[in-house]
Symmetry: C2
Subunit: 257 residues, 2 copies
């Protein structure tokens, strides 16, 4: 066999592998949650406005929500780089909240009030298509969140928002935040499936690019109003991921569910 | 303070602690599954009879189910005592099945057939009260299995039997089989609750005695026909556990759900 033949054989094998993975039927779909399934910004702004009214606190609650979310990646980075040991997202949210209360000069809250307000992330509202889309998908696929939210946060969110999950999967079960390899592959292992049998669905390209690099299939879901117009949501063209959908109902249609 | 006063104070504190735990409201109920929520023996016997008819294999399928279950504790013991590393229950079931096929002189099965038959544990039928009882309990409590079955087994079982779990908890998430401390306390930690806020519900005293020793509340569920009359199921009297119920609907009533 010449060197060229070896290279060609390797290329054919590689294409065959890709073809096999592409044909492997999807059995489970995992969903990013914050922004993809639930409207964190709108939910926090609405509950903040209501709570602020009762407490006599006037401020721009959507901006408060944005500032809270601004602290999200830096807080997880402290865990990623080892400055903090594994820490649940509830605890990271609370660390950020404690700083924000200073920034927004909100004083005099009891520990109980702070804890309740921190758990607003357990009470986020779904996008209008989420429950109906997931309900359709559940008939054909195993569906679960795969979020950086901790298990109890996602469980409470599921009950609050009526999300019909089959099970709760979370970064917490791998003790590694997305987009770490361990997070995706722990979920795949717990499902007893191969990576190509699992689709990651998200409104964020970094999440899908990571999932794809570990062998999962990918479903992009457009959520143009995730950031309320303050900054644009990610966009994707047909063909950039295995499925590119307008919302979760559209994903259900495109997945024949 | 005299020595007697110190002892009395300690006793009062201890009673106060017990009183506090007793008064702590339950927020989540975890269920043993095999025998407690689903009828493993009847389900395996029924599917075996049907499959045996198609394959021309005649044998006592209830006895086959009993022999499979006989291998359950010894197989987990190999993991408990370190003879095997952590091994999913699906794999242990398969190890036992491979021995049983020899014992029952069943030959000529393809790998696919063996794998399908091994997954009969994913297709167990609920007791008649299970779905209705869990549906009532779900409105008031977070409900999950806490079983030695692996996550994918319990997920498939939930979908197959229509069990309305909020999340799937499993020995697999702790990599320790019940009745190990880690199994119960990992579940409590993932729920973000205190042990006294969580009730273990089971038809087996060893499971409940372990859960209680780690601070969980306990709910006994009578399943007199788990073993089909070959041996009696466990029994318990009122007062032996926090709740003693005739079935899951009765548990729902006694938990005001």
């Amino acid at each position: 066999m010449t060197r060229r033949q070896v290279i060609l054989s390797a290329a054919v094998l590689c294409v065959a592998d890709i073809g096999k993975a592409a044909m492997t039927p999807v059995k489970a779909i995992l969903f990013d949650t914050f922004g993809t399934v639930v409207d964190w910004r709108g939910s926090i702004a609405a509950e903040g406005a209501q709570w602020g009214k009762a407490k006599g606190i006037q401020l721009d609650w959507a901006h408060f929500a944005d500032r809270w979310r601004d602290g999200y990646a830096p807080a997880m980075n402290k865990v990623r780089n080892g400055a903090l040991p594994w820490t649940k997202l509830d605890t990271l949210h609370r660390m950020i909240l404690d700083e924000l209360l200073g920034e927004f000069r909100i004083v005099g809250l009891s520990e109980e009030e702070k804890d309740h307000w921190n758990r607003v992330w357990h009470r986020l509202k779904p996008w209008p298509d989420s429950v109906a889309g997931l309900t359709r998908l559940k008939k054909k696929y195993t569906i679960a969140p795969l979020s950086n939210g901790n298990v109890s946060l996602l469980t409470d969110m599921g009950k609050f928002a009526g999300l019909p999950w089959d099970l709760i999967l979370s970064a917490e079960l791998a003790r590694h935040y997305k987009p770490a390899r361990e997070c995706y592959l722990t979920a795949v292992d717990l499902l007893g499936l191969k990576p190509a049998e699992v689709m990651m669905a998200a409104a964020h390209r970094t999440d899908l690019d990571a999932a794809r690099s570990f062998g999962l299939k990918t479903g992009f879901i457009h959520r143009p109003s995730e950031f309320g117009g303050v900054k644009p949501g990610d966009v994707a063209k047909t063909g950039e991921y295995d499925v590119v959908a307008a919302d979760i109902l559209d994903l259900a249609s495109k997945m024949s569910a």
